[in-house]
């Protein structure tokens, strides 16, 4: 699909700039140009697609949907699924949380949304697709959605309402069921498309720097870190690498755009896939800044329980990934 891009990178580096194709520098630059362009294109396409989904199914409609129907347990699936397709912005997580709870959505279902939303987002998916291929990306997305569902179900069972901040509990008590809230927009698709692409372009622009830095670090490691370097320390399925990676990742606050290209190289150089995935999920799914935002609506105890549950499921996914991909070559 991206052959033409490879030809372009070859032409640019070897012909126009005139660096030897066999030299280290030539290979690194070629890799860099190809990857940056490929990922930016994928990012733009996926963001537009998600923008279209979101234009027709905004969070307000999701809330109504979850609220009005009896879904017999499937509400966890829907909340988690829409957490995945809704563009995530950490600044919206608190209003969303309260809005859902206020609208009468059970706490567990709200948590399912809140777990999946940062974990599976358009940026992570685009970069995964570019760096690891379709099979891996699908497994990642499905596992992320399942993780959100299970996390939500467990948290829902724990009866945690009493650990919400007082004013939030008040809101739940006088559940002011708001009916008028969602009126569907009637703007025709073609009129909306320019706006959606503009929005997508804005997202791509805002992370382009992280993509470039991430891929540059990746390209550097490609050239200078010896093959199987990590394998001697961390490879070969030592189980404890997964929890260790998660613990190291929580204080790190990085976005998917910068971290995935680095992780791809680490996998090539011998880190087990599950360990790398757990590390990445923990970096983007569990962040201290998000914790401090949530502090406004939850007690510390609830935040600890929430983070603890998510951590548990991330570690579990790490084990599952290591198990699935133990002997198969997933990178192609």
């Amino acid at each position: 699909m991206f052959d033409w891009l490879q030809s372009f990178a070859d032409w640019l580096i070897f012909q126009v700039i005139g660096i030897e194709a066999e030299s280290h520098l030539g290979m690194a630059l070629n890799f860099f140009v190809y990857d940056v362009l490929k990922i930016l294109i994928l990012l733009f396409v996926i963001t537009v697609l998600m923008g279209i989904v979101n234009a027709y199914f905004p969070v307000e409609r999701l809330r109504d949907f979850l609220n009005k129907r009896k879904l017999y347990g499937l509400e966890y699936f829907f909340a988690s699924f829409f957490g995945a397709v809704t563009p995530f912005c950490s600044c919206s997580s608190v209003p969303l949380f309260i809005g859902f709870v206020q609208g009468g959505i059970p706490l567990g279902v709200t948590f399912a949304f809140l777990i999946t939303s940062p974990l599976v987002n358009e940026i992570a998916l685009a970069i995964f697709l570019g760096m690891f291929g379709i099979k891996f990306t699908l497994i990642y997305a499905i596992l992320g959605i399942i993780l959100g569902m299970l996390g939500g179900m467990v948290l829902g069972k724990l009866k945690l309402e009493r650990y919400l901040s007082d004013w939030v509990q008040q809101l739940i008590l006088n559940k002011n069921k708001v009916q008028e809230d969602f009126e569907s927009e009637q703007t025709p698709f073609l009129k909306r498309l320019p706006y959606i692409t503009q929005e997508a372009w804005g997202i791509v622009k805002s992370i382009v720097l992280y993509v470039i830095i991430g891929i540059a670090i990746g390209a550097f490691m490609h050239g200078y870190v010896p093959e199987n370097f990590f394998e001697q320390y961390l490879g070969d399925g030592q189980w404890w690498t997964v929890p260790l990676a998660v613990i190291l990742a929580v204080p790190l606050y990085a976005n998917a755009a910068g971290i995935i290209p680095v992780i791809q190289v680490m996998v090539v150089k011998g880190i087990p896939v599950g360990t790398a995935i757990a590390f990445m999920m923990a970096t983007i799914g569990l962040s201290i800044p998000e914790g401090t935002l949530l502090k406004k609506v939850m007690s510390l105890k609830l935040i600890t329980i929430f983070f603890g549950t998510v951590t548990f499921f991330i570690i579990l996914s790490g084990f599952i990934f290591n198990f699935i991909f133990k002997n198969s070559n997933l990178l192609l």
Binding site: V59, C91, S92, P95, G99, V178, S206, K296
Partner: protein
Amino acid sequence: MKIIKILGTGCAKCKQTEAIIKEVIAKESIEANVIKVEDIQQIMAYNILSTPAVVVDEVVKIKGKVPSAQEIIAALA
């Protein structure tokens, strides 16, 4: 005089929204009082799910995105 409230917990998009609104009212010489609301309890009183949101005279006009200049002019009309 219109009262414009920008609801947002202080993220980058909320700051962009504030900047563009100030730009528009200066350019169109609209008389308006721009207030930034950062307190989550006050924000939630407007029953929105995503920020930033723009409230004109206590009516939510725009939510969940950084508005364009035309959208702001339309919201103020």
